[in-house]
Symmetry: C2
Subunit: 259 residues, 2 copies
């Protein structure tokens, strides 16, 4: 199975893109709702729990791992790839950085944890040292999405408050799983000429390419669309977000094993 994890339900937007690019591959998802949000947690905490979750996904027959959580990708991605060096691990940053490399002036928005870690800046500059990067933490965007205020006047004003400091960017990376839901409000603030990059889509394309090039692993992954969704605590507003992401009805399962 394709093992996907996030701090909560935001990773469903990544599931959506993976189903879109790799239909028929079975998914096992773990959302760490008991400890959500990771965005305001320390790096050691994020590493420790991400490793526990990956071990659990492997025990439950995942052949590849997708870190659908941006905070975990930023703060624990390199650590996890070393810890689990025999397992293909995909994070939210690496594929997106490749896609963003055609732009020189790039904006990044994310949670405080993601932005403060500077992982995106480092990765982009590694790839293209000439890049000019501006970044901004937008901590109200996640609760706005979870409240379902996707498309209203207050959301647009908050988007303006956060985004109007960006100066002459060509592309904006949405470095949080919840942010693609606010794409309309973001576009209305920035104008149509700025390319919005969704890392979930970059990741799904990269994963498809990897499986096409690694037939042995591809053949081991169970097929079917009976995807399974596990959480460490009842997910809040699950149905609202699930409806935005997935066509099928989902029954979340609550487990205490990783607590």
């Amino acid at each position: 199975m394709i093992g996907i994890f996030d701090s909560g339900i935001g990773g469903l937007s990544v599931v959506k893109e993976i189903i879109n690019y790799l239909p028929g591959f079975q998914i096992i998802y773990f959302g760490d709702t008991a400890r959500l949000p990771y965005g305001t947690k320390g790096a050691d905490f994020v590493k420790r729990y991400s490793a526990k979750i990956i071990n659990w996904l492997l025990k439950n027959k995942a052949q590849v791992i997708v870190i659908a959580c941006h905070t975990s990708s930023a703060q624990a991605g390199d650590f996890l790839k070393k810890e689990f060096r025999n397992i293909p691990i995909f994070d939210m940053i690496t594929p997106c950085v490749k896609e963003a490399s055609t732009f020189n002036n790039i904006g990044i928005i994310g949670t405080p944890g993601t932005i403060n870690s500077k992982s995106w800046e480092k990765s982009i500059l590694n790839n293209n040292p000439k890049s000019n990067i501006q970044s901004k933490a937008c901590p109200l965007f996640v609760p706005l999405v979870e409240e379902g205020w996707i498309d209203n006047n207050i959301t647009e004003q908050i988007a303006k408050e956060y985004l109007n400091g960006f100066n002459n960017i060509e592309a904006l990376i949405l470095a949080c799983t919840h942010y693609p839901f606010l794409e309309k409000a973001i576009k209305n603030t920035l104008g149509e000429n700025i390319k919005i990059i969704n890392p979930a889509e970059s990741l799904a394309k990269e994963l498809k390419l990897f499986l096409n090039n690694n037939i042995q692993i591809r053949n081991k992954i169970k097929r079917g669309d009976n995807h399974q969704f596990f959480f460490s605590d009842e997910p809040y507003n699950f149905n609202k977000i699930a409806k935005l992401c997935l066509a099928q009805e989902i029954k979340p399962k609550i487990i205490n094993e990783i607590i």
Copy 2:
């Protein structure tokens, strides 16, 4: 010492009121930032971790316990008072319900966990069966306070969006530790004629009365103003909130024992 706990840093607003009413009594505080927020967690989870934290506070020489977290008060208060029947435990609901009993038409705002638990309704109706109660969850208020957007135009609009459904209330209970910081925006929306009740103040008055009536316990509590603040993970925006609550500078200590 007076042992106080909360899911995070919001309980500092309770510390403020306790210092105000009981100056010179030493405080030990625990904020469960690793698992914050409790407002979207399940009841079993909140009970389990609240009990772990109380055990830790008792081990660290607390003689009385203050549940400064509204979600824990609502979902675990009765359970904890039974579990620790020999220890005086104060919750955010009981003292405030007494204070609210002079009003018949009462509004309540809080996190989804607090509001959905219906604990406030039950407690108020128990006390005064003629009460008319209206309640509303305001999940964006906590991140607004933590972002420091206490007193701006967007905050007032969000307050209007949440509060303009209240009809003919005489008093509004702020059933979340963060909400007293938004009192100005709330007052501007509701008008000056509605009494705003802060449960932290009701609790501090009740605790003072209890200690005046129980001199043996009062005399056991260590005196001094070297209050101690422990957290299960780095608290986010700590200095911003601490400044709003307390005159002295605080050095938070991070411990992993309760994880």
